[in-house]
């Protein structure tokens, strides 16, 4: 990051602690500290199986959080992300379920299903984008109402189309493999997430479009005056978030082997939280794909650690909250240090 880099050059005498605090790897360092502490408490966390499990479990969250990062950079927020996961999950799964899927007659139900997943994501993202940019509505409230609508839609769709009214099961095994399968021990989902991450990273850091997004986030008026097509770019940020939601939904649905309307019901705060813990600003103009990766990694390791400790729900809630709060306090402190530096 250029500003902090310059600051460090200007003040070479800062202590290691301060340097670590202002570095962008702070969250990564915190994750490592937490991991070591957990390792002492429950050695099982450091086994290959557990590590792979953490990795596989965090991939869908990573993909959807990367989408969120795009929207946060333009100073928006996409609260609809969990409903995109749910709606895409049930619509996609309804295409290819063995119990009378709509696309079975085509002979390529998995392909149609995947298109349906991405299509739902694209559609909801486009809807959010149109409402915020063309109708000038605040993103918070647009995505709040689309979240309510499509969560409700997913429940309605499932209740209307399934016998037990709860989920679409019996998915093709080739599809389930996307979420669960491995090549030489490496999960497919890791590959999918890596591709999404790479594309997102290059888009944000190496393309004009990426620069547009940062410019809009810092100052939309200045960006518009300098010739940035603000509305179109913000629209694309929402579409990207929607598409990432569709991809994440494929991974989640594959992992669970069912299309369910409660998919992602409780992870909204994890999605936004992960990005913000990584250092993405809620006020726009600041964020990186790698930062979001650190945030997601942090939350996933925290979750797994608490799970391995065998704590009850109450403690998991409380400790998770405290950990997020500590990360936020550290972030606030280092923000002040950077300003001073």
């Amino acid at each position: 990051m250029a500003p902090s880099g310059a600051a460090e050059l200007a003040r070479p005498r800062r202590s290691l602690a301060v340097r670590l605090l202002v570095s962008e790897y702070l969250v990564l360092a915190l994750t490592a500290v937490y991991f070591v502490v957990m390792w002492l408490l429950v050695p099982a966390i450091a086994t290959a199986d557990t590590l792979l499990d953490i990795l596989a479990a965090m991939m869908p969250l990573l993909v959807v959080s990367i989408g969120q990062t795009f929207v946060l950079i333009v100073a928006g927020i996409d609260l609809a992300a969990p409903s995109i996961l749910a709606a895409a999950s049930v619509v996609g799964a309804s295409m290819m379920t063995g119990e009378g899927g709509f696309a079975l007659f085509t002979g390529v139900p998995i392909l149609v299903g995947i298109i349906a997943f991405l299509g739902m994501g694209l559609f909801i993202g486009l809807l959010n984008g149109i409402c915020t940019t063309r109708l000038n509505m605040p993103p918070f409230i647009v995505t709040l109402s689309t979240m309510m609508f499509f969560s409700g839609f997913a429940l309605f769709y499932t209740s209307a189309l399934t016998d037990d009214g709860s989920s679409f099961g019996d998915l093709p095994s080739a599809f389930v493999a996307i979420g669960q399968g491995t090549v030489h021990g490496v999960p497919y989902s890791l590959g999918v997430a890596a591709v999404v991450m790479l594309v997102a990273h290059v888009t944000l850091s190496r393309t004009v479009f990426g620069q547009w997004l940062y410019a809009i986030g810092r100052n939309p008026r200045a960006a518009a005056i300098s010739g940035v097509p603000v509305k179109r770019a913000v629209m694309w940020a929402f579409i990207i978030s929607g598409l990432c939601g569709g991809v994440a939904s494929i991974l989640y649905t594959g992992r669970l082997e069912t299309g369910t309307p409660v998919l992602g019901q409780r992870i909204l705060l994890d999605i936004v939280g992960a990005a913000v813990i990584g250092g993405v600003s809620l006020f726009g103009g600041k964020g990186r794909v790698t930062w979001t990766l650190y945030g997601v990694l942090f939350l996933s390791v925290v979750d797994k650690g608490l799970q391995l400790l065998g704590l009850d729900l109450a403690s998991v809630f409380a400790i998770k909250g405290l950990v997020i709060l500590c990360a936020a306090v550290l972030d606030a402190v280092r923000h002040r240090l950077m300003l001073r530096g």
Binding site: C131, P138, L282, V316, F317, A318
Partner: protein, 331 residues
């Protein structure tokens, strides 16, 4: 603008319709539900709507203060649950005149913790209240052991009681509203809240203690969450482990529906009451017309969407129409 101006009358009508768009939407809804169900347009039913809207309305009034300074409080649901758990588990034997103020103090303390992190440590409000949401619910779940929490019979009879013919929930709603309304519109503190929300830097330069104002709005939100929690629990008899869970969404929706801006400085509690009642009216209307329960969230979200859409287009059209025309038009 003179009477001879041919466009004047039409413009007046447009302005009138736009200014009162939310009220018109409300009337349209009332008419629609009234036609579909004979039981809808009755006094009893309207009293019911207000009773059901009371707890969301009270918490949304607190949320209005927070949104007015450009903040946000996601932790109100956890606050409600702590209040319920403490009241049901530890203060069951105390008389209500003692236990209710005590748990309201807990709500205040919860708000003060949020405020401390936000004003002293300068942590973003979104992330602070997101964390205290988890911590608060975790602590309350620890108290309750993830089990149902019951309350003393007095709490329930208070929930069913009426004074001067008005149910207790509506009393609570009305008192909180009046106090909040007077505070915002008649006091220095109220003006300072708007000033901080409109431009915190400028307010600071004008001599307002911005930090104190920000601190107090989160305390107010905490107190309102506690009172709203009390109203809600006196209606439901037992609090399950999901009591208050994700209540932040309807509360924020009601506030924004009432015209309070998420960016601070614009709005008020009268609109918030309207927003809370509007949402409850829709829900009640759906029950009355025997709609499929799965359709409730769909309809409610569409109504919120339409209301906010109307509000945002209205604002931009009003700005254009009300702009004073200083160009001399040739006849």
């Amino acid at each position: 603008m003179s009477a001879r101006d041919p466009g004047s009358r039409g413009r007046h009508t447009t302005l009138f319709l736009l200014r009162n768009a939310p009220v018109l939407l409300f009337i349209v809804l009332l008419a629609a539900f009234g036609m579909m169900s004979g039981r809808f347009l009755t006094v009893t039913n309207f009293v019911n709507i207000f009773i059901q809207a009371a707890h969301i309305g009270i918490i949304a009034i607190g949320m209005t203060f927070v949104l007015l300074i450009g903040g946000i409080d996601l932790s109100i649901g956890a606050n409600m649950y702590i209040v319920a758990a403490v009241l049901g588990l530890y203060l069951k034997d105390l008389p209500l005149v003692v236990s209710f103020p005590l748990v309201t103090l807990i709500g205040l303390a919860f708000g003060a913790v949020n405020a401390w992190f936000i004003t002293r440590l300068r942590v973003a409000a979104f992330i602070t209240t997101l964390s205290t949401l988890f911590v608060g619910r975790g602590i309350a779940l620890y108290f309750s052991g993830n089990k149902m929490v019951g309350f003393s019979p007095e709490v329930l009879s208070l929930g069913r009681a009426s004074y001067l013919g008005v149910p207790s929930a509506i009393w609570a709603f009305a008192i909180v509203f009046i106090v909040a309304f007077v505070t915002l519109s008649q006091t220095t503190f109220g003006r300072q809240i708007y000033a901080v929300g409109a431009d915190a830097d400028a307010a600071g330069k004008a001599g307002i203690n911005v930090r104190r104002i920000v601190f107090s709005v989160y305390c107010i939100a905490g107190v309102c969450a506690a009172i709203g929690g009390l109203v809600s629990l006196s209606q439901v008899a037992v609090a399950s482990s999901t009591f208050g869970f994700q209540k932040e969404f309807p509360v924020i929706a009601a506030t924004v529906l009432g015209g309070t801006s998420l960016f601070g400085g614009r709005g008020g509690v009268l609109g918030t009451v309207f927003g809370a009642v509007l949402i409850q009216t829709v829900e009640n209307g759906l029950v009355m017309t025997d709609a499929d329960p799965y359709l409730y969230p769909l309809v409610i979200s569409v109504i919120i969407f339409i209301a906010v859409f109307v509000d945002s287009t209205r604002t931009s059209i009003l700005e254009r129409l009300e702009r004073r025309q200083i160009r001399v038009e040739r006849a």
